[in-house]
Point group: C2
Chain length 216, copies 2
DNA sequence: CATTTTTAGTGATTTACATCACAAAAAATG
DNA sequence: CATTTTTTGTGATGTAAATCACTAAAAATG
């Protein structure tokens, strides 16, 4: 996505970007920080999350391969509304705001694509909002597993190709660790999933989908 | 916002737009409908909402004066993810998708502004998500009242310049009618607000804000 | 490799909120 | 203007999920 621009502009990008190596657990930016630029995830996985109190958080999304980070700080508000933390070692490309803005002005196709990307993110965000408002934890966990499966694919052994801590899974589903733990146990008993350590294998996608669709 | 384009393009807009009169309660489009164009609210108030089951819904936002509607259907997905219903009689301007897309291609400044608008909507949406996940109903109602006050201003008598049914207020706060009703009663007792029919006056904005900020 | 720190696992208890089940008032409708 | 329909007001009851309060296992760290 960083490479969605005019060919003529590429040298300028190369000159203005800064590649950063990040380590597992490293905070890329924090909500409340002043916005100075945008980031692109070159390698690794980054969680985008909103904190709440001392130890509660809600994971908004996971950013990988080429995804833009920190764009929510664009426009009037010049502080980040969310935080970004690396879940594994990776490489992040940083572009400062003035240059990014001129990039947008020059590469209108890029702006157009970015706009479309935002529209789809908005859709996703609103879907999640409704889920939080009206779906049971079990449904939300089912939804979370399916989303993870869709975004990250699966390994040779069939397990979802990302290993989250139970706490992160809970934050992604918008529930507490304990409740998610219990729900996972239920799902195990019902043979919908199989776990081993942090690995999770989806056995019965259909039934999981059913859980996300039911009325209450 | 519909008038954010190049002057040269205005005649084209005038030729392509269709003005629709809508009545209170009229559905402008429904989630699941095929996307054929975008709408702008010229006059009146429109609620943008997601349905859930037979009688549950979550109100995402209220659109007024010049706001765009239905843009979430842009891009790959060609069905509306949300519904839009008029809350009062008003005038809606409709522009079909092909023309809207060419407008975006020609008016790059407009596209840029639209992108910024989406970024801010995304921010707002994610704030609401976190609220739904971690805030009490009381906090969410407080937040809802403040948002309404900020968006619609107040009348001469100090009441919020929009009259919602209790059910709509509940759907906006993401809770049930009964719970919101009780919460409003508490707020009345604590002298944070004053009501008369559907009118709501905010007496103590500070304390309402406190409610939205507290930990649990 | 011993020890601090983090993550996982699990029951008991509490509570915020939804659900149910009504009555009364207000608004819409023929 | 009488009557159906919608919105409002309010208690009683149920329950999903948070909170609390621990033990056990893994990982990280010096």
């Amino acid at each position: 996505m960083c490479r969605n621009c005019l060919k003529q502009w590429q040298p300028a990008i190369a000159a203005n970007k800064v590649n950063l190596k990040v380590k597992r657990g490293e905070v890329i930016f924090n909500e409340g920080d002043e916005v100075r630029g945008v980031y692109f995830v070159y390698d690794g996985v980054v969680k985008v999350h909103k904190k709440w109190g001392a130890d509660k958080e809600l994971i908004i999304r996971f950013a990988t391969g080429g995804a833009i980070l920190g764009h929510r700080g664009l426009g009037s508000n010049n502080i980040y509304p969310i935080s970004a933390t690396a879940l594994e070692d990776g490489i992040i490309c940083y572009i400062d705001l003035p240059f990014f803005e001129s990039t947008l002005k020059v590469n209108t196709d890029f702006t157009y694509n970015l706009m479309l990307f935002f529209a789809s993110e908005l859709q996703e965000s609103e879907r999640k909002m409704r889920n939080l408002a009206h779906m049971s934890v079990k449904g939300r966990v089912a939804q979370a597993l399916i989303s993870l499966r869709d975004q990250f694919g699966k390994k040779e052994d069939g397990s979802i190709n990302i290993e989250l801590s139970r706490q992160d899974l809970a934050s992604y589903a918008g529930a507490t660790y304990e409740t998610v733990f219990r729900v996972l146990n239920e799902m195990l008993k019902e043979n919908l999933i199989k776990t081993s350590g942090k690995k999770i294998i989806i056995n019965n996608r259909e039934k999981l989908l059913d859980l996300t669709a039911q009325e209450s």
